[in-house]
């Protein structure tokens, strides 16, 4: 079991929600300013699709849920009391609609508990010295130690090939791991937002994030090592 202080540490690390920019946005929305509405629809819909997709079985269902959510927002904005940020409020409507729909589709992702996918070592145990090693048990073996990838921060930033490879690796992750890592590392949600939206504990959020990132790192490692171990010389990238 995870010690209590771990949960506390995360709760403290999350910055307080800033209500100021929201006030203006909400005022513009209530006044019927279409630019304000376009701003949030364009800004948040991709993330909302990702969230919805984690509760239902098809892209089409996810789109319908996002659409329903926005219509509920249009009609319900006068009822928004500003006790949370506008975004949190919109996402709460979204996850309620998505959960209801998920139940109707009999597709229940067991968000509250971890599964076998979420256990076991994330790095091949053969890469480490055994427990009986007389000098450094549990430390990297010479062959197992990670080698530099020689990525140039600018050049590698982001070839289409790497993007495609990572997109494919994401698809291979178990549903919950894919959802959490996408929301955190692609859509930029905070740990707390992910926990609230998906209804999971801070500890489980970290387990899912950890396993997903470890598998993606391993996919990148395979990609960078595909022509054998990396050369000592630094690659020149055009």
């Amino acid at each position: 079991m995870v010690p209590e202080q771990v949960e506390v540490a995360v709760a403290v690390a999350v910055p307080p929600e800033d209500a100021r920019p929201d006030d203006q946005l909400v005022a513009r929305l209530r006044a019927g300013d279409p630019d304000a509405f376009v701003e949030i629809v364009d800004g948040w819909s991709s993330t909302m699709l990702r969230v919805a997709r984690s509760f239902v079985s098809t892209e089409a269902s996810a789109e319908e849920i996002v659409q329903e959510t926005w219509l509920a927002v249009v009609r319900g904005l006068d009822g928004f009391e500003g006790r949370s940020s506008l975004r949190t409020w919109v996402f709460r409507i979204l996850s309620n609609l998505a959960k209801t729909r998920g139940v109707r589709e009999a597709r229940t992702v067991p968000w509250s508990s971890l599964s076998l996918d979420d256990e076991g070592p994330t790095v091949d145990p053969d890469r480490f010295r055994g427990p009986d090693d007389d000098r450094w048990p549990g430390h990297w073996t010479e062959a197992g130690q990670p080698q530099p990838w020689h990525t140039s921060p600018v050049a590698s930033a982001i070839g289409g090939e790497i993007r495609q490879m990572l997109a494919a690796a994401l698809q291979l992750l178990p549903d919950r791991q894919r959802t959490v890592v996408s929301l955190r590392d692609i859509h930029g949600l905070s740990a707390e937002e992910v926990c609230t939206t998906l209804g999971i504990s801070a500890a489980n959020q970290r387990v899912l994030l950890h396993r997903a990132r470890a598998r993606l790192r391993s996919a990148l490692e395979e990609y960078y090592y595909q022509d054998g171990p990396p050369a000592v010389t630094v690659e020149v990238t055009s």
Partner: protein
């Protein structure tokens, strides 16, 4: 220093560090464990590389393209917003 003493400290094994690296990056470790991780990283090239690769992974994953709402759906929503405020 003899070669025996130049190794990484015994308090954290690399095999354990790779499993708490996310807790470390998330700031979720207690201060003692955080200090132990940081000490280990100053001495262990393998784990330093591993954590750099985790950071690179996070950065690269951020560039994976996302789905967006179809333009027709988006336009319908904007029309619904206008209608609601016109009526």
């Amino acid at each position: 220093m003899s070669s025996e003493q130049q190794g990484v400290p015994d308090d954290i094994a690399c095999q354990h560090l790779v499993e708490i690296v996310t807790d470390y990056l998330e700031g979720a470790l207690d201060p003692e464990t955080t200090a132990a991780v940081e000490y280990h990283l100053t001495l262990c090239a393998g784990c330093s590389e591993y954590i750099d690769q985790m950071r690179t992974t996070i950065r690269l994953v951020g560039h994976v393209p996302v789905d967006s709402l179809p333009a027709t759906v988006r336009d319908e929503l904007v029309a619904a917003f206008r209608d609601f405020h016109a009526g």
